[in-house]
């Protein structure tokens, strides 16, 4: 058997920046002063910022040491459910850093920015092809902003019909961003429960849908990793009452090349380029959350939109019904380059990506269900959800198990989400993990499950091999110390 990746090694301590600084050092080559000083009036000028002074070596060692305290996709399997922690190709990074793109000013006259516009234009076309919808805006800076764009378009749609609706239906399995985005738009989220199969029933949706319903937000596949099989029927119910269907595309990695959003009855769908399209998560962003719509809603998309006229690309603001702007410029262009590069690298093989993502998740589900409770034992999509019910007898929780998993060299899955499963353990392996790495992860989880029975204290004390032991989050929240 292969060794587990987790081990001990020499990890360096590193103080805070200002604990190692010394006045008078500088870690940056300062540009030559070739003009005279032009001092500001005293009533405007302040003191120099209270920043630490460090040499370049100080700074390089500081961040290199800090980096070694992180776990990352490039270090090992990172099976966070609903996050799609797939491999982030290096060529994408190189291409996004090409000076012609990285250095481009967003307000350049478009005739000298044609390459950037062309890239965005083509990426929009690719995303319409992948979703089956008709038009796209790349402007949302992340998934949640894509959701906001969607809600704003629903709002604008009803307004254009002279009606003002108040409610958005949100299933109990939804990401927290869904109700928050709806509320930001002034809508009251109405919760609808999933059935004992873990999906929405048309009856449950019909029961809460009425003339006040602006729309439904539905994640498909949902956060239990299950395909919402009744989505077409649900869409018809909502449409009959005049509402719209918003699909949270966070889990698109399961169904590329397989489903057609328009056929499902979806009117609006956002995508997360930092999930499905391989751009790195950056330890919390930047992401990119393009929003795709049907033809009837295209006029509400954020502006400016990119148009092609006489072989030239241009920005157009000529959409009077547009919801307006969400980003100062056009969104996270640097992230778009990486997604564009990924799509060109994969081409129609994106379907294979989804197939293998689903294969990997089902494999993990099948192999772990003997040691972890599986609330919904049926074929899953790209992720599977277990619970800690089997470990309850030993007073071991989900948190204890995943902390112990760290010692084996794996990042924990998403835990305690979705809320409909108590003690949830949500595993999304993604397609870029090999069978060997999956087997090692499965063995590690099995070993942890065994330890839960035989040596539960080991789990409660875990992790033991990370830079720090378990942290006291309660004290941190009771007496917040947010800056040094």
């Amino acid at each position: 058997m292969r060794e587990f990746p987790g081990t001990t090694g020499l990890v360096f301590n590193e103080p805070l920046l200002w604990e190692k600084a010394k006045k008078g050092r500088c870690g940056m080559s300062l540009p030559r002063r070739d003009v005279d000083p032009a001092p500001l009036d005293d009533d405007l000028a302040g003191d120099a910022p209270d920043f630490p002074d460090l040499s370049e070596v100080d700074v390089v060692r500081h961040y290199t040491r800090l980096s070694q305290w992180n776990f990352a996709v490039d270090l090992g399997m990172y099976p966070l459910g609903s996050c799609t922690m797939k491999y982030n190709p290096k060529i994408n990074e190189k291409l996004a850093a090409i000076p012609g793109f990285a250095g481009a000013h967003p307000l350049l006259p478009v005739e000298i920015a044609q390459g950037a516009l062309r890239l965005m234009f083509e990426l929009e076309r690719f995303l319409t092809e992948i979703t089956g919808l008709d038009a796209v805006s790349l402007q949302p800076a992340a998934g949640a902003q894509g959701e906001l764009a969607g809600m704003l378009m629903i709002h604008a749609f009803h307004k254009s019909k002279g009606s003002h609706r108040t409610k958005i239906i949100v299933p109990d399995t939804a990401h927290g961003t869904n109700p928050a985005s709806a509320a930001l738009c002034g809508y009251v989220p109405v919760k609808v429960r999933s059935n004992d199969q873990g999906i929405l029933s048309p009856e449950a949706v019909a029961a809460v849908t009425d003339e006040e319903t602006a729309g439904i937000m539905i994640t498909n596949p949902n956060t239990l990793g299950l395909f919402e099989e009744n989505i077409s029927q649900i869409a018809r119910i909502v449409h009959e009452k005049g509402g719209l269907v918003y699909c949270d595309g966070a889990n698109m990695n399961a169904v590329m090349g397989i489903v057609d959003a328009k056929k499902m009855g979806v009117d609006i769908q956002h995508l997360n380029l930092h999930k499905t399209f391989s751009t790195p998560h950056g330890a919390g962003g930047p992401g990119s959350g393009p929003v795709c719509v049907t033809e009837q809603l295209a006029r509400f998309l954020p502006v400016p939109r990119i148009v092609q006229r006489n072989g030239q690309y241009a920005f157009s603001e000529e959409y009077p019904e547009s919801i307006g702007k969400l980003h100062a410029f056009y969104g996270n262009f640097g992230v778009m380059i990486k997604a564009y590069s990924y799509i060109l690298t994969m081409g129609p093989q994106l379907k294979r990506v989804s197939e293998l993502a689903v294969l990997n998740a089902n494999y993990v589900k099948e192999k772990l269900k003997s040691v972890l409770h599986l609330p919904h034992d049926r074929p899953c999509m790209h992720e599977c959800v277990f619970s800690d019910r089997f470990q309850k007898d030993h007073k071991i929780t989900t948190l204890d198990m995943v902390k112990r998993l760290m010692d084996y060299g794996f990042h924990p899955p998403t835990i305690y989400f979705p809320l409909v499963v108590e003690g949830a353990i949500m595993i999304e392996p993604t397609e870029t993990e090999s069978k060997e790495d999956l087997d090692l992860f499965i063995d590690a989880f099995k070993a942890v499950a065994k330890e839960a029975e035989q040596a539960p204290e080991l789990l409660r004390q875990a992790p033991g091999r990370c830079k720090v032991k378990r942290l006291d989050e309660t004290s941190a929240a009771r007496h917040p110390c947010l800056s040094g």
């Binding site: 305690y416 989050e473 309660t474 929240a477 009771r478």
Partner: protein
Amino acid sequence: MKELGELNLPDDLRYAEDHEWVRLAGDKVVVGVSDYAQDRLGDITYVEIPQVGDAFKKGESCGTLESVKAVADLFIPLSGEILAVNDALAESPGLVNEDPYGEGWILEVKPLNAAELDELMDSDAYLLMLERLE
């Protein structure tokens, strides 16, 4: 988490469905949250309480209790006006965990309608409700 049998549910209190307790003290009532509520929420990190003089109708949200990873509304179990709040919770929200029926009290309320008190559960009925809930 405590088993239901391990919970401390004093007999001299009345309980609401949303896990608040009420103690009659002359013409006013003291309100807090039950041992069950504090146990299920976990270590409480912040208590958001209304201001003295605010008035609420029975069942309205009048504040929140926060733990590291959860937020629960505090629903007022009786209609009335807030007479006093436990200022010690600002500095020591953990009192709600350590002593939910004593130092961890949350509000004093001047009830608008004394009959509402009779609508609340006694400890046996509350425990029965918890058993059904679990």
